[in-house]
Structure formats: C-alpha cells, structure tokens
Symmetry: D3
Amino acid sequence: MSQFSHLTEKGELHMVDVSEKLDTERVAIAKAEVIFPEEIYPQIISQDIPKGDFLACAKVAGILAAKKTPELIPLCHPLPITKIDIEFKFIPEKFAIEVTGKVKTVAKTGVEMEALIATSIAALTIYDMCKSLHKGIKITDIRLIYKSGGKSGELILEEKV
Amino acid sequence: MSQFSHLTEKGELHMVDVSEKLDTERVAIAKAEVIFPEEIYPQIISQDIPKGDFLACAKVAGILAAKKTPELIPLCHPLPITKIDIEFKFIPEKFAIEVTGKVKTVAKTGVEMEALIATSIAALTIYDMCKSLHKGIKITDIRLIYKSGGKSGELILEEKV
Amino acid sequence: MSQFSHLTEKGELHMVDVSEKLDTERVAIAKAEVIFPEEIYPQIISQDIPKGDFLACAKVAGILAAKKTPELIPLCHPLPITKIDIEFKFIPEKFAIEVTGKVKTVAKTGVEMEALIATSIAALTIYDMCKSLHKGIKITDIRLIYKSGGKSGELILEEKV
Amino acid sequence: MSQFSHLTEKGELHMVDVSEKLDTERVAIAKAEVIFPEEIYPQIISQDIPKGDFLACAKVAGILAAKKTPELIPLCHPLPITKIDIEFKFIPEKFAIEVTGKVKTVAKTGVEMEALIATSIAALTIYDMCKSLHKGIKITDIRLIYKSGGKSGELILEEKV
Amino acid sequence: MSQFSHLTEKGELHMVDVSEKLDTERVAIAKAEVIFPEEIYPQIISQDIPKGDFLACAKVAGILAAKKTPELIPLCHPLPITKIDIEFKFIPEKFAIEVTGKVKTVAKTGVEMEALIATSIAALTIYDMCKSLHKGIKITDIRLIYKSGGKSGELILEEKV
Amino acid sequence: MSQFSHLTEKGELHMVDVSEKLDTERVAIAKAEVIFPEEIYPQIISQDIPKGDFLACAKVAGILAAKKTPELIPLCHPLPITKIDIEFKFIPEKFAIEVTGKVKTVAKTGVEMEALIATSIAALTIYDMCKSLHKGIKITDIRLIYKSGGKSGELILEEKV
C-alpha cells in the first residue's frame, strides 16, 4: 500500500526532496464543472451576452493562478512551467460550464497541482462573475484526468473529450 | 431577472464600483468536500497518522489564500479581512473530509469569494498531501452556505451543522 | 517651490505619513499609447482577429496590477481600491492603441500610481501579445490626466475624450 | 506576414508552448525616458538632493519587478533570471532621466518583457518620488533596444550609448 | 496569567476576530542588530564604500516586506499601513549595524509584526549584501521596543536612542 | 581581502551575474532561537497546549517564505528549490525554541538566503502566536551553520546537533 509522501512516519509535514529526480517533460490535465441553477442557465448561454470578455477573464485568472501554485499549496515546488491552457465547454444538459486546465513543464516533479489550481481558479472566477445572478452556483468534480512524465509515466484517468 | 454585475451590456468586463457602499460587518461561509476512493479512506482516518500537521497545513494554506483573493479573482476588491476560520470534519459514510471556510470583514462589499477561496485552497492542499496514495481523489460541491451584511442582509442557504 | 515629499532634506527615502489624513473619495485617471510600426498596424486592427480575448487579457492584467501597486512602488501605501476601469481606443492616424486606466478609492491618499500602473501594465500586456509581429512596438506618453479628492481637490490635466 | 504568437486563429488567448525549446543564454535590454516639466528639472538634477537613495530606490523597484514579470504579464513564462541591471542617465537637453534595464537568463524563452517591466517600474518609481513637485511628468518611449539568444539570434535595435 | 490568543483551548490555530475593535492610530517600533565578525567590520564602515545604495536597498526591502506581513505571518490581518520608516546606526563597539523599523496604521489591530518584519528583512538584506565577505555574520536581538494604540495603550519596552 | 559581491567599486547595487555558473546541488542550513521570558516558558512547553497546530503553522510559514526569498531580498535570484525542511527543538535551559531551516536546490547559485528566510519567518510566526502572553520575546542568533555545493564546496560553520 502506498504512503503519504508529504508526511513523515510521525505525521509531520514533509516536502518531498526532488533534487535527484530527472528533468523530464511532464503534463497534467484537470477538469471541473461549474453547475448553474436551471433558472439562470439560459442567461449564461444566451447569445445576448458576448462571452469573449467573460471567458477570457476566467482563462487569464486560471493561467496566472497556475503560476502561483507554490505560493498557494505549501508543499509544492516552484517549477518552470512551459505551457498553460484552459478551455471551456458549455454542457446544457447539466446546466454546466466544464473547465479543462492543462499544464506542461520540463522539471523534476509533476504539475498536477498546477493543473488543478488553474482549473479551480478559472471556475471560481466564473462563479464570481455570475454570483449576482444567483447564490446557488456550485463547483463540482475537480479532478485530475491525465498525467504524463517522470518515473510513473503516462496515466489516463479519463478520456479528454 | 437579475443581471450580471461584472459585465456591461456589451459584455465587457466591469468591476463593480463600491465607493458609495457603507462599511458594514459582512460574513460569508462556504463548504466543500474532498472525496477519497474507498480503498484509501481507512488510511486517511487512521489513528496511526496524527492529523495535527496534516490538517494544520491545510488550514494555514486556506487562511493565507483567503488573503490573496483579490490577486486571484480579477474583479474582487481588496478588503480588510477581520477573521478567517477553517474547520474540517470527517464524514466516513461519504469517504470524505468536509471543509468549511468562514470569513468576516467590515467593508463596503462582501467576502463570498474569500470564503470560497479559503475553502477551495484548503481542500486542494489536502488533495496535494494525499495524492501519492491515489490519483482518484476529487473535490466537489464547493458552494456558499451563508452570507450576511450589506444591503441584501442575511442569507441562509444551508444550515451549518 | 514645492518639495520632494518622498525624500528627507538629507535625500533619504521617506514614506509620507498619511495617518492624519481624512478618508475621502479619490479618483485618478491615466493614459498611455501603444504605438505600432505602420506595416503591422493593419494586422492589429483587422477584423480577422477578434479582439475579445486580446483586449480582455490586457484589461485583466491592468486591473490585477493596479491592486499590486504597493508591492511594485516602494513608497506607496496599501489602499482599499473601490473601482478599476481600463478602456482601449484604436487611433489609426497614429497607428496606436490608447489605453486609459481609472482607479477609485475611499482612503487617506490618492490613487495616481494605481492608475498609472494599471495603464502601463495593460499597455505592456498588449506589447507582449504583439511582439512576435515586430520588435519595434513602443509605449509612450504614460501620464496622469485627472485627479480628484483629498486636500488638493480636482485637477483636470487633459479632457478625457 | 508574421503572426500573433499569443492568439489562436480564432483569436483566443494562447500561451506559447516552450517545452521543446533549448535552454540558451538570452539577454534583453530596454529603455525608457522620464520627462520632467522644464521648471522642475533643476530640482531633479540639483546637487542639493543627494541622488543615492532616490535612484537606488528606483533601481531596487525595477529589479524586484523584473522578477514579478510572470505575475504581471499573463502569458509570460516563469524564468530563472540570472542577472538584472538598471542604469540611469540624466539628459539635461531633454529634461529627462533615461532608464536602461538589462535582464539575462539561461532558459527556453527570452526576457524582453522582463527588461521592459524592469525599465517601466523603475521609471514609474521615479515618477512616484517626484510627483509632489509637478503633475505633468511623463514616461515616454518604452522600447526594446537589444535582444540575443534563442533561435532568432542577436537583434540590435539601437546602439546602447 | 494571560493566554495564547492564536490557539483555541484544544490548541487549534485561531485567527483573532477583530471585527468589533475600533479603528485607532497604532504605532509599533522594533529593533535588531546585524553583528559582523571583527575582521570585516572596517570594510563595512569604510568611507571607500559609499553607503547610499547599500542602506537604501535594505530600507526599500524592509518597507516592501512590511507591506507583505499578512502574506508571511499566517494569522496576521491585512492592515492599511499609513507609514513605514527604517533607520540604520553603526555601533562600532559591537561591530554592528542596528536596524530600527517603525510602522503606523489607523486600524482595528496593531502593527507589531509589521515592524518586526520590516526590521528583520532589512537586516537580512544587509546580510545578503555582505555575505561574500564572511560567512559568520549574525542577526540578533530582534525585538519590539515600543507599541501604542488600541485598548492596551502605550507600552515603552526600551527608550529609542 | 574579499570584496562586496553586491556593490560595484562605486558602491552601486550590483546583482551577481550567475549565467555562467554550473547547475549543481546546493544545500544551506540556518538556525535561530526564539527566547521567551522565564515566566511564560512553562506555558510554552506545557503539555496542556498540544503543539501540533502551533509548530505546524510556523513550519508552513517558513516553507512558504523560503519560496518568496527573491521577492523579499532584492538581489537574490529566483531558484528552483527542491526541498525545504524546518525543525524545532525546545531548549529549556535557555527558555528557548531553536529553529533550524534547511533548503536544497540544483541551480547556479546557493540557497543561504532561502535558509535564513525560512528560519527567520518560522521564528517570527512563533513570536506572533505567543505575543499575547508577553511583549518581551526575542529572536536571536539568526545565522548560517552549513553550506555545500558550487565552487566554494562544503562549509561547516557549526555541527548540527
């Protein structure tokens, strides 16, 4: 059974020492969904509101947040991120906007947390811009869907559609 | 029907002007759940791992992140936060840790986003410390459950248990 | 003749003590121009490139930077900004994009530097997104055009068109 | 005709993927001018005001800002800066202080934006320290003058005097 | 006997709730000493090295750090600092530079930590600039010497000389 | 006699150019002591106060601060830190808590300042959490005790006990 890499046997916090690891290309992709109450979803997808600024703002927020990951998550290492991408997809049958965040680096450790932060902050920025419409918006299913690079190799948790 | 406060009629980004609003005490409470795959949950709740450092790390991360809200969410105003509190509750029947973040201020606008950020980053920090155990951990149901202060007064979305 | 408020008589750095000043509404507006080499200006204004994301990115960068002013300018005080707005205008006869940044607060000192930072960083973000087209882009005429609030009252340096 | 590297064909924001680029030594030099109204320029250059603290403050501000470039410019990559230098030159015939910012790295992409940010923030810090003298100070001609390293090699836009 | 204000009775972290406290003028002054090995002290005080840039750099670093206090010290509240001052004094008989940091605010809680951070980071910046001379430099006696404002009133721990 | 690496011969600030240095593994260890007035030390070491949260908070603060070193110390280079560790030891005969901070990287320059910042901010966080008990707490003897890597090789200033 695997172990907590971030706690010592006594349960003390422990930052992983990555000094000996190799610099390899590493990719991580995360997803989340912003779920809107049914009654406001038509406003969200309406053609009357151009979505350029709206989604661009969430994208920029997510990109900048990914770069702040080691400031936000105490045991993360600072990494030379080489690419951040954030995509949005309207899923009307779930009254949702799906957010996908992808981060790449060439470094000694992976970028899962960077991808999760990019995705979460992009989703929370959408929440912020829509919260005047309804207080019942939720963000759900923040999760890793893909990871590659490093000793553990490629891991496909979900097909990215 | 209410409107997007953060977009102009043309759909351009718009930071709300709060210059004329009154400084009143404002509170917001948010919740989220970190859901673990069933096979690793016993390790999470095991008495063998003292939880002091583990949950304290997530709490400190959430508290610091709440103070970074205007850096993370583009259209948020900087506010003089007067109190941040984060609590954790193990919910074994859902294989979950529930995170509750509460933020207070005396200011011209509310602290919903601060409470949501505190909660989300505390949850993501738990994720980070457990991700070596399993790649299938999820964070879900990030939502506002309470809000008071300002013109809209008190809003109880869920009873805090 | 007026004096350097930020240096003592010996020329030592001196942060102004604003403890005794009153909290009043204060506004500042700054402008700058991004000047493109003539040969690439058609690409900048072309309808083929939707400008939504392009200008939204510069706007978000400017808004976030204004909130970072006391981190960037050593002798600036942290202020509770109540509004930030950034506008862009294409000026084809100058092969330019004009950037206008407006910042408001209710505080003990003014927001000139916040308006100048918002404007400058929005302009530099435009530069960044266009620098692959040509290395000869310039940013020029960063200046204050309006200021109100505080003891010195209203100051109109240029009519905002 | 060259293309926007930071926008997709649909005009969506696009961070360049530098994963495959080589780590090479890269240098960039930028310049700007702070232009003072004629009537206050004698105070700026007066020997009565020792310039040690004054210019050192602007230099430190510029150096620290260069390190914040990926926080300020959304699509910039975090880079391991190896050297930052900022110089000032009084140009009495233009009632100006010229600011020159030079940044070096060994990395997968260049440091133009870092040099431009260092220069701009140093100039804005000078503005801040002199703004009590006159509201008509301007910053002009922020531009790249030199760039080397990477696939595009050396580019001399202006001789550095 | 007084109690830990930052821990609950169970020993859990606890940010003090300052919502009900009054906004009053508050001042704090801290001191520290940078102690140099005797053999390098002549170089530190030598007239051959102009100290303008050297001490200005430490002063700017301390001023900027004071503004970052709530980012650095987890349970500190963000406060609208109204004044930061840092002074240096050579104390040859102790082979020392004494650093004094003074911070003021008009707020609901005090600025002791801001004064201590300003002083510590100014001292560490001096350390950084001198560390090539000798590895045996120490920073010592970081302490609060004065505090006023709020319910506890004025507290003079040491006369400021 | 060695020289100031951070000042030019004219005494101007000078960031060291590390472009040509080799990436090697580098380690630095620093120590400091938080000294409590005798009358409150029994409370500090009392078994009635579980120390989990208390010391974990100081540890997390120190770890996060180490990553902020280039933001805090103007002439420091940003480095890809590979490991940060902070340990605490109660020394009853000195009424002290000793803090030891260790930082590693694989980079072109060393991590002494990172180790000193980690140690200092962890100590200051302890101060903050105990300052309600007594205003006479001090932090002393912040110093480097070990350094390895780079051209100067291993340097043992004190045996780490």
